[in-house]
Amino acid sequence: MLKDITLGQFFPGNSAIHRMDPRTKLIALIVYIVALFSAGSWLSYGLVFAFLAGTIAISKIPVKAIVRGLKPLVIILVFTGLLNLLFTPGEKVLVAFWRITITLEGVVRAVLMMARILMLISGTFLLTYTTSPIGLTDGLESLLGPLKKIHVPVHELSMMMCIALRFIPTLIEETDKIISAQKARGADFENGKLLERVKALIPILVPLFISAFRRADELATAMECRCYQGGDGRTKMKLLRYKRNDLYAFVLLVLLLVAVIFAARLGL
């Protein structure tokens, strides 16, 4: 069922990671990605992996959930792996027949690239799994706050993002319902030629669009009824505040980044 896709879904919980300030988590993700891309040696990859594994353990997110989220990436992974495996020039040739040569460097590179993609996506998942959509947009708005000085509509953008995120599950649910309803009338989405299958989507897409527009309209009316008029002078119910945990996180992040860069430089 559509409902079972976990892309970017929030897993409610009460771990140290869940309680951390969303701004810290956003910055942490950026630092983590920088560290990941600075890594070039086994040791540096190991460090980043240890950091990721540690964070997952603290967050108490089941590893199964993360693995399930990674499933759609299989094609990209295989593709990346194959390209690196086949087209990396090197000296130690392992296999050579016809036009294909596989080198030791190629194998190492393929493994590391695949690991990089996996760790990149898992890290991102960890952010969205442990942070509610509202926390995420609040954090983003606060981090981008300085851009208001140059007239970037930060609040409006974050509000739009917040609404979009908020409506993903609603629309998925709606789609599920429409699919079921049309199936109950004998619609068949699994069989038939490509053109037939595309045509079979019309009974889903038309009602879905209509209901999306209807919802947008209703939401806009509701917001106007409450005199919503954007960011200026608006106060927040939940103020973001850095706590001790966030300090520890920042220290750890700096250590990670420094260690990874050193390890990569030294080529360990």
Binding site: T6, F11, R185, P203, P207, I210
Partner: protein, 287 residues
């Protein structure tokens, strides 16, 4: 005669293996005879809608089985698909599924999927439109130009046009004005009479259910809590109230009378109430 539909020890769990896993149905068993009109009541989240979606094979049971005419609906793929046509399911707010350019085409969607010849489709569309009071002129209109109540009736006609032996409706009257409600209930009843169809109707409107159903199923916390004639079910009013369910206004009034020490028998429709009051008045005048 053998029951048309049998549900045996049905269990269903949602989102197995995630933090959102929960039991939606727990050991539900019952059987349905041909031509019955069954009302299904229960609190929001009690599993009514999940149960209904099992009956035509939209959801697959976690365990247990559903037999249509004695045959397991999951026994082979072809039969599962056939069940979708033999057990017609009208969802909540079905007007949101309309998608075609004209009412006619929308009603024809189901019969077309059955692979019927054009003349048969035409006959069925016109007959179904007749059951729900859609005129020939309206058949050529866009469904989006109709009123809310008309849209709902078109959507119901879309399922009726498949001529299902069992018609299941999930809150067909929700959000309609009293006149629209009456109209829809009449439409359902006329379809039932014409085709000797079996009807299952999920509803929150106790008065509606009490009036037309021959039998009631009460769902509570994923289990089937009661199964019986309306009289038997409504006589257990206190249990219903404890489940957070309503009882018909008139039943409530008569319970109050009993509390005051007036010797009335419980009733659940207006007609019964009138008869009961008459009986008591005459009884007194004779005394």
């Amino acid at each position: 005669m053998a029951p048309i539909l049998q549900v045996k020890n049905l269990h269903h769990r949602y989102s197995i293996g995630t933090p959102f896993e929960h039991v939606a149905l727990q050991d539900v068993s019952f059987s349905v005879e041909r031509g019955e009109f069954i009302g299904v009541i229960g609190h929001t989240g009690s599993g009514k809608s999940t149960l209904m979606q099992h009956l035509n094979g939209l959801l697959k049971p976690t365990s247990g089985e559903i037999l249509l005419d004695g045959k397991d609906i999951w026994s082979d793929k072809k039969f599962t698909r056939q069940c979708r046509f033999r057990v017609g399911l009208v969802f909540q707010y079905p007007e949101y599924q309309l998608f075609e350019e004209t009412v006619y085409k929308d009603i024809a969607f189901g019969p077309k999927n059955m692979g019927l010849p054009t003349e048969e489709i035409d006959r069925r569309v016109r007959e179904a439109a007749g059951f729900v009071g859609i005129t020939d002129a309206q058949l050529e209109m866009s469904p989006f130009d109709l009123s809310g109540g008309q849209k709902r009736r078109v959507a119901i006609a879309g399922v009726i046009a498949m001529e299902p032996e069992i018609l299941i409706l999930d809150e067909p009257t929700a959000g309609l004005d009293p006149e629209g409600r009456e109209e829809i209930l009449r439409n359902i009843e006329s379809y039932r009479r014409a085709k000797n169809a079996t009807i299952m109707m999920v509803s929150h409107a106790m008065a509606d259910v009490a009036k037309i159903a021959d039998r009631l199923l009460v769902m509570n916390q994923a289990t089937l809590a009661m199964d019986g004639k309306p009289m038997d079910v409504f006589s257990r009013s206190q249990e219903l109230l404890d489940m957070g369910l309503d009882i018909p206004e008139i039943t409530r009034l008569f319970l109050k009378l009993q509390e005051k020490g007036i010797p009335v028998n419980p009733v659940y429709t207006m007609q019964q109430a009138v008869a009961e009051l008459r009986r008591i008045r005459e009884g007194k005048s004779h005394a």
